[in-house]
Every structure is written in C-alpha cells, then in structure tokens.
Amino acid sequence: MKKDEVPQDGCKTYSGHKKLIYAVGEEGHYEGVKSSGWEVEGFATEMAVSALDSQLEQAKAEYIKGDVSPIAYYIPLFRFDLMSLAHATGFFQWQIKRHMTCDIFNKLSDKKLQKYSDVFNISLTELKKPEIES
C-alpha cells in the first residue's frame, strides 16, 4: 500500500481517533501514516457491535418480562460471553446457564453472587436489581 492509498474514511467506530498504518512513501520506503479508518474494517466492526447490541436488547426484554435473571442481562452489557465469563468467575458454563434462570439465581448465596459483582465491577445490590436505562 502506498502512502496516498492509506484510507481516510473517517470511521465512526474510531470516535475521532487515528490509527497508525505502515505504508510506502514517495521514495519507495516505508513510513508510519495516520489513518482515520478504512470503510471495510469499519463495516466489520459495526457488524460485531450491532450483533452485541441486539443481544443486549433481547436480554433486556427477557429480563423485564421476568424470563431470565440479571446475569443474562449483564453478560452482553459488559461484553462477555459464556466462555469468557466462565474464565473470569471460575464457574463452569453450565453453572452460569443455570444462574441465568430466575429460580436458581434467587437461591444463590451472596458469596457466589459476589464473584459476579467483582467481575462486573458493580455492587451486590446492582447485581440483584439492575437499573435498566430505557
């Protein structure tokens, strides 16, 4: 890629930041060039972000309906998935799945809930009763 071909597409996912890309300058040698984003990359990022957003919307709706526990809502909110949350909390994935149901969640000890609070960096009160922004 030549220096003048470095994309400057002003990707909104960059929030005004610029990244450093290496490209070939006029003399035929490499230099660092700042880029405001490449549309191709931005599209891929937005796809991932919107997938997370729709997961969160779904979890929010299910939580409000009372179908799932707050854990199910917090997982997409903090951009976790079952595997990363299992690694972070020390629970098995099947345990987390159980904790996502209201019945099981309501019976959990504060000691177990504290593990989730620590990982999400929120208080036990918030964990038990999320304040949902509409």
Binding site: M1, T45, L85, A88
Partner: protein, 335 residues
Amino acid sequence: MNAIENPIVHRQSSHCESGVVANMLNSQGFELSEPMVFGLSAALTFVYLPMVKVGGLPLIAYRMPPKSIISSVCKKLGVKVTSQKFKNEDEGMAALDKALSEGKLVGLQTSVYWLPYFPEDMRFQFNAHNLMVYGKNEQGDYLISDPVFENVVTCTAESLKQARFAKGMLAAKGLMYVMDKPEMQVELEEQIKKSIKKTAKMMSGLVLPFFGIKGINHLAKKIDKLEKVSEQEAGMFLSNIVRMQEEIGTGGAGFRFMYASFLDEASQLLNDSSLHEISQYTTEVGDLWREFAMQAVLYCKKRKNVSLKDVSNSLRVCAERETILRSKLLSWSKG
C-alpha cells in the same frame, strides 16, 4: 500528593506490545523503530484455532502470542527485563508507585475493557493489552503512554487497578515489567538474519494444520463450508477475520505491512538491495490480504457478484504468495 513525571518518548505505534517495547527503548536513549522491534522478535505468523472460541468465534491471529515480543527482543538486545505478578491488588498498585518514584518506566499488561480512555466501540473483554506508565499527577491519576493512541493519556487509579486485575482468559494478574538501561552496542546484522530465518521457518506451519500457510489454506476450506450455514452466520465468521486482521492494531494487512517496513529498514541498515526487493514483495502480499478483506466484506454486504468461493479463493492467493515469500526469506537468510 507529589506529582511524578519521568521523561519519555511517546510515539504512536500500530501494535501495543511492539509499541511499548519501542517506546521504552527509545525513552532510555536506545533508538529502535516499532517495525524493527516486531521483525527482530520474529513475531509474524498466522494462526487459525477453530477450537478456541473468542466471543463465540474462532481465534485468528497474525502474530505470536502475547509477551513473546518483549521477551524475544530484549533477549536479542541483551536487555534485562524484570517482571512481577501480584496476588494482592493493593500490593500491585504500591509496587507500581514505588517503581515510578524510583524514576522507572513501567510496562503493564491490562484489560482493554476497563480503560476509560478507549472509544466505546473498541472496548471488549481482552486481557492482553500493553501500555507504559510514566508518572502520576497531583490528583493521583496515572500518566500513561498507550502506544496505540496518538497522544499520552491519563487514567484514574481505580480504573487502572480494575484493568490490571481483570480476571479471565490471559488474565494479567497485575503483571508489570521494567527494563534495565539498554547497552548501546548491539550487532543488529546477525540478529536480523536469525530472526528472518525463524520467521521463514514458521511460515510453512507445524505438523498441525492451524499455523502458517497450512493454517491459511485450512481457513480457506472452512470458508467454503460456510455454504451450509445461514448468511448471517457466514457474515459473522468472515467479519471476525477482517477485524482480527485490520481492526486489532496490526498496522494493516495483519502485520504484513509492518513486516515489510522492517525488511525495508533492514535493507537500508545492511545496505542490501535484495532485502528491499523482498520488502516490496511483502507489500504485494499485504495488498492481497487487504483485497481478501474487501471481498469478505462485500460478501457480508450481500453483493450478488461475490460468492464464498470468491472469498476463499482470494485467501488462497495469499497462501500461494506467502509460500513464495517464505522461500525468498529463507534463501536470503542462508545467503
């Protein structure tokens, strides 16, 4: 509280780990560019691990695992690195303060998610980010040179602690590292040759089909098989590859441009025009990776004229060219 500000050179970099190493060396008077750090550490590779899932999608990487750049470069330069992990969070923060008050520059491994200065869309649960702390202001906020940002930033003690001690995969456990002052005399020529040879050897892949050129071809096969899943699922799979290649601080084309830049710099240092030709060839390879990313995204946008076969074929072209690149690098390193 007394403010501390240790002198640094902050240069924006493409990648966090090579950037921290380069900035740490430069700050201590040892001039070395980020691409030179990356090339010397022989960090260029390709990995596709279908069984390791990140956010439900397979792990794809274009470089060696975290921490390999710092350890390998410092070994080559004969620079001593002292690193520490902590069980207790407050001890970890106290050790950071102590090192700063001794005038040291401190490298940290952190999570990306808990760093408040990251843009919203780039915050995700990834625990192997690297940054350098160079002081503390009167409010008790840390002064940070985060190499992927244009300018230096600050971060509250609370957030930095959270980021250092985030649990999970690749958890940093408060890892901090300091570098001894580098020796000024290092024979780079020999080290460049060794590292190019190592990179070339790794490119062919190991016995398993997940690494190097074998890994690229394996991924191409997997893309063909996406015919059987929904367009949505295929799209998520492809956009994940594009993100790993372009979004995650690679300097473009999954580190291929940074490596070409290293070869270019090495050719000038060694006054070797054949190495410059290989650099140009690597640029072409990088351009083909960008072409592949473009095809993948065109498929995601449901452009009728781009099929999964087109996408996988453009990846196979990368594999073919990397095979040629490998033999060029190998024969140069033997010359």
